[in-house]
Symmetry: C2
Subunit: 259 residues, 2 copies
C-alpha cells in the first residue's frame, strides 16, 4: 500500500492544525505518513482546489481547523476521512451555551496577544538582550537572569512573540558571580526576576559548541559558575527554572502561567 498522506488544513497559518494533527497521530506508534500543511484555505474555491490535491494523494487523511462551515462542506468532497475541530465542537458548544455560532468569525491563531504589543516586545527584547541598556529594565514585564548560555535569549524572544511579554535578559558574568549578591541593577527590580539554570554537563556541552576546549566551557568552570549563580538567586528568593530538559516553549509557559 502507498504511504498515507496527511493534510493539515487551516484557514489561517496552519500552526494549530499541525500541532493538533501531529499530536493525534503520534499516539499511533509506528504509523508512517507524509505530512502536507496547507494554510490559508479561506474561500470555498480554495477548498475545491484542495479536494483535487487530496484525491491525487490517496490514501490520505485530512485534519483541519476550518472555522467556516461552507468551506468545510466543500472540502468534504475530497473523499478522504476529514477530522475538523470545528465540526467536532461547534454544535455541542452551541447547545451548551444556548447560542448560535456565526460563520467565519472565529480564527485559529497560534499566538494570542495583541499584535502591536508582541512586536514592541520583540524590539524590547532585542534592545535589552544580554544586559544591554540596563536603564530600560524598568520597562520590562520580566527579567531573565542566569549564567552565559543558560537559554535566556531564545526564551525572552519566545515570550515576546507568543505572549507579548517584554522580557529582558541579564547575564550573570564571572565578575557578577564574584560578589555574594545579585547586581544592584537587578535587585532594584527583584519582583520581575526569574532565574534560569541547567546542569553543568549540559552547559559545558553548549559552551563547547561555541568555544571548544576553553576554560569558559570546562565542566569545572560551569559547575562553579552555576553554583554561585544558584546560591545568589536562592538568597534573593527568586523563582528558578531548570532548563536542562525543557524546551523554550515549556520554560516560557512555566514563566507565564506557573511561576
Amino acid at each position: 500500500m502507498q504511504k498515507l498522506t496527511v493534510f493539515f488544513v487551516s484557514d489561517h497559518t496552519g500552526v494549530t492544525a499541525e500541532a493538533v494533527g501531529h499530536s493525534l497521530l503520534s499516539q499511533f506508534r509506528g504509523l508512517e505518513y507524509r505530512a502536507q500543511t496547507v494554510p490559508f484555505i479561506d474561500t470555498p474555491a480554495k477548498a475545491v482546489a484542495l479536494t483535487e490535491r487530496v484525491r491525487a494523494a490517496m490514501p490520505a487523511l485530512v485534519i483541519s481547523t476550518l472555522t467556516d462551515q461552507a468551506i468545510r462542506a466543500k472540502l468534504r468532497d475530497c473523499e478522504a476521512p476529514l477530522f475538523d475541530v470545528f465540526d467536532a465542537f461547534s454544535a455541542p458548544l452551541a447547545t451548551m451555551l444556548g447560542m448560535a455560532p456565526t460563520a467565519s468569525s472565529g480564527q485559529i491563531h497560534g499566538m494570542s496577544n495583541s499584535y502591536h504589543a508582541r512586536i514592541d516586545a520583540v524590539n524590547f527584547a532585542l534592545a535589552v538582550d544580554d544586559g544591554l541598556n540596563p536603564e530600560r529594565l524598568g520597562e520590562a514585564d520580566l527579567i531573565l537572569v542566569g549564567v552565559s548560555r543558560a537559554g535566556k535569549t531564545p526564551v525572552s524572544l519566545y515570550l515576546a512573540l507568543q505572549y507579548g511579554k517584554k522580557a529582558a535578559n541579564y547575564p550573570l558574568t564571572p565578575e557578577d558571580l564574584g560578589v555574594a549578591t545579585l547586581p544592584p541593577v537587578l535587585l532594584a527590580h527583584r519582583e520581575k526576576l526569574r532565574g534560569l539554570t541547567l546542569s553543568a554537563e549540559r552547559l559545558s556541552q553548549i559552551r563547547n559548541e561555541r568555544l571548544p576546549n576553553s576554560r569558559y566551557a570546562s565542566l569545572e568552570n560551569c559547575r562553579s559558575e552555576l553554583q554561585a549563580a544558584e546560591g545568589m538567586m536562592a538568597a534573593s528568593g527568586i523563582a528558578v527554572i531548570d532548563s536542562t530538559r525543557r524546551s523554550v516553549e515549556e520554560i516560557a509557559a512555566m514563566i507565564v502561567h506557573t511561576v
Copy 2:
C-alpha cells in the same frame, strides 16, 4: 448569572489548547468569559486537583488537549462540560487507521521542528540581523530583504523559533536603493531571497514611532524608498510579500508553505 470561566487545559504548554479554545469561542459573538490557561496537567493527581478549581469557578467550561485517557477521565469529574481534542478524534482515527492508540505517547507542541535546529536558527537570525555578518549569508535557508522597518526582524525570529528556518535579514538602505539592482552580496544568493514590502502610509507610521517628524519617516521618503525597493526586487524576480495587513505568523506561514 456569574460570568463563565473557560479553562484551557493541556498536558504540555497550553498554547494549542488556547488557540483551539479561543478560536472555537470566537464563533459565539457577544459571549463573555474569563479565560484560565492551565498547562502541564500531566498526572492524574494534577487533574484531580484541577477538578476542585473548576468546581469552585462554576459556571465553567473546559477545552483541553490531554493525550492520556486516564488524565482525561479524572478531569471529567469536574462536572463542567469538557471538550477534549483527543476524546473527539482518537477513537475515529484508530478505527480509520486500524491501529490502537498508545496512552501518553502523543504530545501537543506549539512548535514542530527539532529543538536544536530551532535554537541554532535563533542564534543565526541574531548574528545576521539587519545585515550583520553578510559573509554568513551562505548558511541561511532564507534571506529576507526590504527597506528599514518593513518587519524583517520579527519574521526572521519567528521563522527560527516556529519552523527552525535559518532566516537572515538584509535591509535595503538608501545607498543600496540608489543603484538599479540589488546589492551583489544578495544577488549571489538569489534563490534564497524573499522580499517584504508594505504600504507607504503604514511604513511612515511605523518610522514616525521611532523618529517622529524625520525625513526618514516622511510619507514622501517612504514612498520613494518603497518604489525603488519594489522595482529592484521585481527586476530580480524574487517573491515579495506585502506585510501591511498581515501578522508575523501569517507572513512566516506564507514564506514556508506558499512562496
